[in-house]
Assembly symmetry: C2
Homo-oligomer: 239 residues x 2
C-alpha cells in the first residue's frame, strides 16, 4: 500500500513483558528474531528496556546499542524521526506490553507513516487484550478509555458516563497500580449493583487472576489490588 | 480472587495464527507449552484447529484429541460447560487470532466464570491489536465495532455514526475479506476527506502492510483489498 524510498528505516513495534520474571517465554520467535536484528531503539523507560533486551538474549552488548527515550515528558519527536529518515531501522518499546497502546509511542508511529517509514507491528503480550479475552464480556464491541481523571469528582463523573456506555459494549479501564484501590472503591460505590465488573490482575504472572462478577457481589468481598497491575472491565446486560 | 473446588477444569484461551504459513513462530513458548498440555479443545473451526495443533507440534496424535465446535451456529453451550465441570482442562480456539474477541467464544468464557472455572488467557497474535499499534492513531482511547451491517444502507448509517465518534477515539472495524472492497468504497464515498483512515492488511504475512492517510488521499489510489484480511481504523484530529 505504501510507496517509499529504500533508504528510509523501518519502525518495528516491539511488545515487552508485563512485569514478570520470564519475558522470553511470552515472546514469539518472530518477535525475538526481529528485535535481535536491531541496534537502535526508542524506549519509554531505559532501565526496563535494557532488562528486556538482556532477558531475550540480544546478541549485541548493551553498550553498543543506541537508545532514545520517548516518554510522557518528550516534547519534540523530530530527532527520533530523523533517525528513521537517516535509514536506521528502529524498535519502539513501551515500559510494559504493547507500544503505542496507552503509552506515548503512537505519536512517533503516526509521524513515521507521514514520512513514508514502514511500520512493522510484532506479536506479544498486551494486558488489555488478555483481560478482554478472559473477561467473557462482549468481545464483538468494546471500548478502551485508558486512565480516568485522578481527582475523585472527575473520576466519578467519567465512570458514570462509561457505565451508561457499558450497555452497548464492554468498557475497559486501567489505572496506575498505586491508584487501583481508589478506582475499585469508586466502581463499587458509584456503579449499579447489577453492572458486571471483570477484574484482571497480575496477568502473565504466577499470581494472575481474572474474575467477572456483579458489582454487588464484589462489594461483599473486595479484592486487595494495591500496587498490582490490573485491568477493569464493565458491562451491562441488555434486557 | 476466585474460590473454586479443585475438581473443576481450567479454560485456556489460545490465540492461533492469522492465516500465514508459520503459526509456530508467532506463538510464545508459554502459549505453546500450555497448549501441548491439553487434550480437549473447543474450537471455532475443526480444520483450522487441527492444522494449528500440527503446526505447533502438539505431542499427541490428532485422533486422540477431543474437539468440540463452538461457532456462530452453536445454540447450546451447556455440554461444553459440563466438560469443564467434569474436571477436564480445555483450550478455546478461534479460527484466527484471539478467542473471545470478535468470535462466538466469549459466551463460554462468561459461563465459565459463573461456574467457578479458572480462565487463563494466553499470549498470541491479534489482528485488531497489531493494527491499532501500527496505525499511529490514538492508542489511549479506542473502540472496536466488529462487523458493520451487511446491507448498504445500514452500513452507511453506522459508518457515519462511527465517524462522529472518531473525533474522540480511534474507531476500529473489521469485515469478512470478500466484503472488504464494499466497505472500503463506503468509507471513501461516505466519510469526510480529512478523516484519517488506517488500512492494515495481511498482518503477520509476508505481504503485510499498514498505512495511515486522509480519506481524500486514499481516494486518489484505492488499494486492492479483495479477499485479503484487513482491519480498518478511523480517526479525526480535534482542532
Amino acid at each position: 500500500l505504501s510507496e517509499r524510498s529504500v533508504s528510509v528505516g523501518k519502525l518495528y513495534l516491539i511488545p515487552v513483558g508485563l512485569g514478570g520474571e520470564d519475558d522470553s517465554s511470552l515472546l514469539p520467535k518472530a518477535t525475538r528474531d526481529a528485535t535481535h536484528g536491531l541496534r537502535t531503539f526508542v524506549v519509554e523507560n531505559l532501565k526496563s528496556a535494557r532488562r528486556f533486551l538482556k532477558a531475550i538474549g540480544h546478541p549485541v552488548p548493551l553498550q553498543q546499542i543506541e537508545m532514545h527515550v520517548l516518554d510522557e515528558h518528550t516534547r519534540d519527536i523530530e530527532p527520533l524521526l530523523r533517525l528513521l529518515a537517516s535509514g536506521a531501522d528502529c524498535g519502539l518499546m513501551s515500559e510494559a506490553g504493547c507500544p503505542a497502546v496507552a503509552d506515548p509511542g503512537a505519536a512517533l508511529v503516526r509521524r513515521a507513516h507521514a514520512a513514508g517509514v514502514a511500520v512493522v507491528p510484532l506479536v506479544g503480550p498486551s494486558s488489555v487484550l488478555l483481560a478482554l479475552m478472559a473477561s467473557g464480556l462482549d468481545g464483538q464491541r468494546f471500548a478502551f478509555h485508558g486512565y480516568l481523571p485522578a481527582d475523585a469528582a472527575g473520576r466519578v463523573r467519567r465512570l458514570k458516563e462509561i457505565e451508561v456506555q457499558a450497555a452497548a459494549a464492554t468498557q475497559i479501564l486501567i489505572e496506575t497500580p498505586y491508584r487501583n484501590t481508589a478506582l475499585l472503591r469508586s466502581i463499587l460505590d458509584d456503579c449499579r449493583g447489577d453492572t458486571l465488573l471483570c477484574i484482571a490482575v497480575d496477568l502473565t504472572l504466577p499470581t494472575a487472576s481474572v474474575a467477572t462478577r456483579a458489582v454487588a457481589e464484589w462489594k461483599k468481598k473486595p479484592p486487595d489490588l494495591d500496587r498490582r497491575p490490573a485491568v477493569f472491565l464493565l458491562y451491562r446486560d441488555s434486557s
